[in-house]
């Protein structure tokens, strides 16, 4: 890899992308870089981050389907996952916004940089230089703060599948189940695998999902009822336990004894 910084441009408006490209071109003597891609929406951006591994993402805040802040949350959710020798990319995000009191207020309280459209070359240069001094951990924390300050919640889970990114709407998710290093995301039609931690998912979506077992979160609306099961396997017959009967899919999920006291409150 050369020492030129790799940059990805994310904006749903073509002229805005063109403008950033031109301003970056003007800055190339002072700031050597290469533009590794452009994306017009969230799935494209996530796929390009995966394949092109940019070091910096210039990201529009107002985009259809998913705001830049939510998109940043998707990126940060994947950071730190993956193998030791092949960590998931964690680019530094610089936000670009036209005029949004709410978001700008949020930006001002934390370390993240933002640019106001129309973007000026010198301002962009400052932001790029500053971004390079920021440590990834600081950056992650800043994104977390921003997400909290703007009360942004992910409305999708991003699934990377054979070079593509699929956004699974949260309301379609019936349950999340941790297995080995992956989490199975179950929708009515099929299963997806994501690499996130169940604990942080539980924390983020506690309004919708309830933990029924060390390894499983179930969406409250998809709980059809509970069933008591007495294991009758050969050998020692275990203690009876409860399991969740789901709407729309046949499988049943066991409730751990520890969680039952919490879960049974949902029965009534």
């Amino acid at each position: 890899m050369s020492d030129a910084t790799s940059i990805l441009i994310v904006d749903d408006e073509a002229p805005a992308r063109a403008r950033l490209r031109e301003v970056l071109a003007d800055l190339s003597p002072e700031f050597p870089h290469r533009i590794v891609g452009e994306a017009a929406n969230a799935p494209e951006a996530l796929a390009q981050i995966e394949s092109q591994r940019p070091q910096i993402v210039l990201m529009d805040v107002q985009m259809p389907g998913m705001t830049g802040i939510e998109l940043a949350r998707h990126i940060s959710a994947r950071a730190g996952e993956g193998d030791q020798d092949d960590p998931k990319p964690m680019p530094l995000v610089i936000f670009v916004t036209a005029f949004d009191e709410f978001a700008v207020e949020a930006f001002e309280v934390n370390a993240l940089d933002y640019l106001l459209k129309p973007v000026r070359a010198q301002r962009l240069l400052g932001a790029l230089k500053r971004a390079q001094t920021l440590l990834p951990a600081e950056h992650l924390e800043a994104i977390d703060q921003l997400v909290k300050a703007t009360n942004t919640r992910r409305r999708h889970l991003s699934v990377h599948e054979r070079g593509r990114v699929i956004l699974v709407p949260l309301e379609q998710v019936l349950y999340l189940k941790a297995e080995l290093k992956y989490i199975t995301v179950r929708t009515r039609e099929r299963e997806f695998l994501i690499e996130e931690s169940l604990t942080s998912l539980e924390e983020e979506f506690k309004d919708r999902f309830v933990r029924i077992h060390r390894n499983a979160l179930v969406a409250r609306p998809s709980i059809a009822g509970f069933e008591r099961v007495t294991p009758t396997g050969e050998g020692e017959a275990g203690d009876p336990y409860w399991q969740v009967v789901l709407r729309e899919v046949p499988e049943k999920l066991p409730v751990s004894r520890r969680q039952w006291s919490i879960v049974k409150g949902l029965v009534s």
Binding site: E13, P64, P118, R120
Partner: protein
């Protein structure tokens, strides 16, 4: 980083000044203002008590033959009147704080319900002493009618207080005008400028056209909102606006015009249609990354002008929360200008959002370029 700091400061002052018209708008937007008057306010208390008592005295005089009899009649009325009025004022004072955050119909329910129920309660007590030997259905009439009268009186008073608040609010029309100008969404301006900058080097001609459109559009935005313009001109404004949005949104925005039945000389208040089209873009096109079509049909059924604007319903809410003002703003302006003669209907039909606007067809009589203020008698 001096330049950037200066810019941030600039931005903040812009933000602060953008807030003021927004606040003015909230205060003057009749539909959104709280219904229940501040009944702890001395002015409101006096303005309620004095007219009611004067009315009571007048009724007493008019319906009796002598001063003693009149005084007695008034006293017998006051037994009902004073507890109900004072009780209502007293109760509504704290209730108002709770109710004014609720939807309008709850506010109305509170402000009519409190006097109504108090009157029913008082009537039950008074009836025991005054007319103890009424039959059951007579009691119901006695009590119910007094409850209704109290609620009706409350309605009249609330109406009066609302009108009064409007008439006396500081420079009503100025605030209204400012509110309209605040409608120029800062987002639109900055995004458009950014788009022009993006074109400047690659397509200077298109950048020029866009700046010309932007200039025209802002001229219209800053014009007096009461001015009447020919429909032809309003359509030009809409087209200029859409050309700018087209630049930003590219293929995502498709527009179908049907103007062959349009009476181009019909007069309408300026900027009546553009906000509706902006709304269609904002709610139907911007939130989706798919291509969407906006249809605009203008026709002339009889002596009326009909405008229909249809946009797709986006799967997700708007990219940024709008000010939810476009429709109510247009509706209110129609009300002010045409009263019952104009109509604005909205609805969802086949997964598409439809706005139907109808107003009377009035032609301009003089030269086209002479623009005049609205004169309802014309």
């Amino acid at each position: 980083m001096a330049p950037s700091d200066a810019k941030t400061a600039d931005y903040k002052s812009q933000e602060a000044s953008a807030e003021a018209p927004a606040r003015a708008r909230r205060q003057t937007e009749g539909g959104l203002a709280p219904i229940i008057p501040d009944t702890c306010n001395l002015g409101i208390v006096l303005r309620t008590l004095v007219p009611l008592n004067v009315l009571g005295i007048l009724i007493a005089f008019a319906s009796t033959a002598g001063p003693i009899e009149a005084a007695n009649r008034f006293l017998s009325m006051a037994v009902m009147l004073e507890p109900v009025v004072l009780g209502s004022l007293l109760l509504l004072c704290p209730l108002r704080r709770l109710a004014n955050g609720l939807p309008i119909r709850w506010q109305w329910a509170t402000v009519l319900g409190v006097p109504g129920l108090l009157a029913i309660g008082a009537a039950i007590v008074v009836q025991r002493f005054a007319e103890p030997d009424l039959a059951m259905d007579e009691i119901a009439w006695w009590v119910g009618s007094r409850g209704l009268v109290a609620a009706a009186a409350a309605w009249a008073f609330v109406g009066y207080f609302r009108l009064r608040a409007r008439a006396f609010s500081p420079s009503f029309s100025e605030a209204r005008l400012q509110a309209l100008q605040a409608r120029i969404r800062p987002h639109f301006l900055f995004n458009s400028l950014n788009a022009v900058l993006g074109l400047m080097r690659s397509d200077p001609r298109r950048a020029e056209t866009t700046l010309e459109n932007l200039a025209d559009l802002f001229r219209v935005f800053m014009r007096d909102a009461r001015e009447l313009v020919p429909l032809d001109d309003e359509i030009v404004t809409c087209k200029e606006y859409l050309a700018i949005e087209q630049l930003r949104l590219g293929e995502r925005l498709q527009v179908v015009w049907q103007l062959d039945q349009m009476p181009g000389d019909a007069l309408l208040p300026g900027l009546l249609l553009q906000p509706l089209i902006e709304n269609a873009v904002h709610h139907g096109i911007e939130p989706s990354s798919e291509t969407g079509t906006i249809e605009i049909v203008v026709s002339r059924p009889g002596e009326r002008v009909r405008v229909e604007i249809v946009n797709p319903l986006a799967p997700t809410p708007p990219v940024r929360p709008g000010n939810q003002m476009a429709l109510s703003n247009v509706r209110e302006r129609l009300m002010l200008l045409y009263d019952m003669e104009a109509e604005l209907k909205t609805g969802v039909d086949n997964g598409r959002f439809r706005v139907l606007l109808e107003f009377p067809y009035r032609k301009e009589r003089r030269r086209r370029d002479v623009r005049r203020y609205f004169d309802p008698d014309r």
